[in-house]
Amino acid sequence: MAERLAPADAAQVLDCVRWAVAEAVPLDIIGRGSKQALGRPAAAEHVLDLSGLSGVSLYEPDELVLTAGAGTPLVEIEGLLSQNRQQLAFEPADYGPLLGGTAGAQTLGGMIAANLSGPRRIKSGAARDHFLGIKAVSGRGDAVKSGGRVVKNVTGYDLCKLLAGSYGTLAAMTEITVKVLPAPEKARTVLVFGLDAETAVTALSRAGGSPHEVSGLAHLPAAAAAASSVGYVAGAGAAVTAVRVEGPGPSVEHRCRALRQELGGFGPVEELHSRNSRGLWTEIRDVQPLLGDRDSDVWKLSLTPTAAPGIVGRILGQADGRALFDWAGGLVWLSLAPAGDAHHGIVRDAVGGDGHATLLRAPVAVRRKVPVFQPQPAALAALTRRVKDSFDPQAILNRGRMFAES
């Protein structure tokens, strides 16, 4: 009989996993289910629901640290932080709507398990860079911890890094400690209009290599720009290249002026303030608003930034779709017309050795057939399996979510 186990605390999680280990039955781990459509389809008979492990147990703003249960809704944490003018600096994306669900549903644990970072990644690092400590139950049924509550810590292996982005395949996280940071006092965005992707990436590279500490470097080709809810962007009738600066007021104004001057040679420039700036970066972060189509196949490409325009050009020359460039070109979103194989051959050939391609959205049948994650060279794939075995030798946890397992 299918069970949905909903433990209320870490001790019960341990009991659940030990039971599953003893019975050799796999468990699908879920928080609030916002990422069920992410990764390889895995449908275990039993579900381990961690949404009961909810709540912030420690928050010390002047120590820049927060600890919460893995099932804590992220909106709750972000709300608490914003009351103290702090934030998760890596700007976690909300893929809810992108994956066909609602916004604001994800949990802290899910966000860490998928290592989700937004536009500020280029300046402040990824989710994994802010992940200080973990308590978890391994697939062997052992309660294990790693890291701590302080940033500077090299005591033992950094298992937090390993769990970030592991899609729940190594351990069921119960308690997570993250580094939090002050929210910037002010944010503005410099826009450059009408650039093609190649020129835009050059402009973004210039801005990223400036001393102006930019915290967002994105390019919206005309179709993506037209879908924006920000009037200045949608109304441009052209591609929009966006550069964000954040910090104390006088500094932001100064840097914006300098960037307008430096980027003015590329095309006409404009500046977005407060609400408009915020709105644009939220759309870029969450992607869906700028993609339009809700049924397309969506690829997330991690690329060498300067290689991105060429790769995207090659793909869009062979498949219908549109692109969105974040991280100065280092992160490319591709929305392609639905196809039985999500055009994976075209995408992976084009990416070659310059990065990684993940099939972020496609129907279950397609994700079953096509490798969702970048196929790995044999030695790396074998090591990946051994690492998985070291935590979860019977493949109890999220079996098959990242690679085929039986």
Binding site: D15, D158, V387
Partner: protein
Amino acid sequence: MRMPEPDAGTIAQAAELVAALREIVPGEGVIADDQELRAYESDGLTAYRQAPLAVVLPETVPQVADILKLCGERGVKVVPRGAGTSLSGGALPLADGIILGLGKFNRILEIDFENRCVRAQPGVTNLGITNAVEHAGFYYAPDPSSQIACTIGGNVAENSGGVHCLKYGLTTNNILGLEVVLMSGEVLRLGGKHLDAEGYDLLGLMTGSEGLLGVITEVTVRVLKKPETARALLLGFPSNEAAGDCVARIIGAGIIPGGIEMMDRDAIHAAEAFCQPGYPLDVEAILIVELDGPRVEVDHLIETVRGLADASGAVSLRVSESEDERLRFWAGRKAAFPAVGRISPDYYCMDGTIPRRQLPVVLARMAEMSKKYGLRVANVFHAGDGNLHPLILYDANAPGELGKAGGFGADILRRCVEVGGVLTGEHGVGVEKRDLMETMFNEDDLKQQQRVKCAFDPDQRLNPGKVFPQLHRCAELGRMHISRGQIPFPDLPRF
């Protein structure tokens, strides 16, 4: 310090091993002469010494792979070594093992300004990376105090920090890619010029793994544009509490300075006697707060910090008005270790991290311990992130003092863990803190870490005797102990 029992068979066959190594690395790349081996018998933690069987200095990745394969087949232990600056004994040799020195991997392979990264061989020094890009206004952010000598490969192995990591992160936050050779001789590339590849973050795992998982043969690092300007405040306080309070206020105000360093009375006096940086001598603690970034921002924040320092009861306050003056503020801090070296025959540098607000408590406790052990201690801290470097003063020639210094240091670290901190912030566990690991981790935690080690190195030939207080065989670690039964929690809600 107890190391794994040397294997007499391996030692007996040293000559054959050296001959086989010479087939892989011809010429002077294999060192087996007793005199020459001396240079390798210790690293930055000089209290421990052991000559290796041999030292091999390969120049190519295939040579590294062949050496590891050979050692794997013959059951020979391998200790990787960069510049040998580890403060925790990470490169301490084994009597029945070889040292694999990466010193000849000393070339910058690629500088890519457009993508703001540098590809370097592991033997390039930390400062060598900055030197290679500074003509274009770039630099590599992590700056351990040994940066002139320490190598980027060693930085990755230890996840090195420095004074600027509060704002710019540790090594792990500044590495994009690695090439790694496993004990099997397999060569892996992890990451590259792109960010956050999907798949397990083995790049993150390798960083700080202290040479126990694989040998690093190439590193891709992120480089940053130099900030437009940097200015520092030199603040003096009547108590450690007041200095700690000032740090809390600065961070509470939403300011993340480029660096916040604190020195206590003993460290201040030692530094002033050593290089006369002009520190106030009538205070209990000083803070050096450095702000960097665009000029307007720095000027703006300097004024804010000035106000916060006043509110915390600073009794002396200077703001650097020139680059010379800023560097002078730093000179004393950077010379703190040699300065302490001048007032004491020997010193032992510790490296715990604590939640910052525990600072006054830990310092008070340290003063008590200082009395108990009869040894002085001078303190320098990376105050922004709670990383302590107590320097215990002792005389190795005085009977029993080395042992006492070790005991004092261990007590300090236990205290750090008790208040919610950790054993090591940036120097690594190595052999030095190995036997304290159980104060922070229980058996299950440590066994899981060792299982990860087994995934990389199933025969545990790579740097054994470091990090883990007890060695377990991988087969034993892999065994499952399953207790069959019902779900033992009848009240659990199900749907």
